[in-house]
Amino acid sequence: MSIRKISISVSLVSTLLIMGYYLVNLILMNRQGDLISAEVFRLAAVVIIASIVLNIAGNILTSIGVSIIRAIQTRSAKEVRIIEDERDKLIGLKGTQVSYVAFSLGVLAAMLAFVTGQPALVMFCLIILFSLLAEIIGDLAQFYFYSRGS
């Protein structure tokens, strides 16, 4: 497995964990009747910050981990260069494009829910949910493009 695929896997797992945490908390709030704006905004802030921190930490740890494994495999203290070539950039861009489309559709769905009479808080919850879902779909799309070649 290439470093890019490992990096995408880390991003995928961290986003899945964050989405799980978000959904569990949202369901618990709903059951306890605590679905009030202050609590939902606090949860959204936690989810957004956790998403940023986990992605950065994940990328740094992946780079360190891969460098250590490569150094052990090659039995050399020479610095391991991690290359991101034109194919990686192209696949990254395609993944981002898929992610944007998924997020746009999610925002549209959230707005439709609002138009059909759901409260604004539900629309907000749906937007956060679809932003996480879009990231997952983007990562899965990148996996697909890597398996296809580009």
Binding site: S2, R4, I83, D85, E86, R87, D88, R148, G149, S150
Partner: protein
């Protein structure tokens, strides 16, 4: 419309050049081994710059490495 695809002779050229490995070629042109595998397998069409770099490594013209042919049915 007829379907075309980029074909290449990288595998043959590598063996003609002291059985150069994919890793060595990748290092020379500044890409990952996975990209060389994808190009060799015809799954990825490289940029013009990368195609020139590959041709330069083998010291042949770009036409001797890459060709644009009709896809087999």
């Amino acid at each position: 419309m007829e379907k075309h695809r980029v074909r290449n002779t990288i595998r043959k050229l590598r063996f003609q050049h002291d059985e150069m490995t994919q890793e060595q070629l990748a290092e020379k042109v500044g890409v990952t081994r996975q990209t060389i595998i994808a190009i060799e397998g015809g799954k990825y069409a490289p940029s013009l710059e990368l195609a020139f770099k590959i041709a330069l490594v083998f010291d042949v013209s770009i036409g001797e490495v890459f060709s644009y042919e009709m896809e087999d049915e």
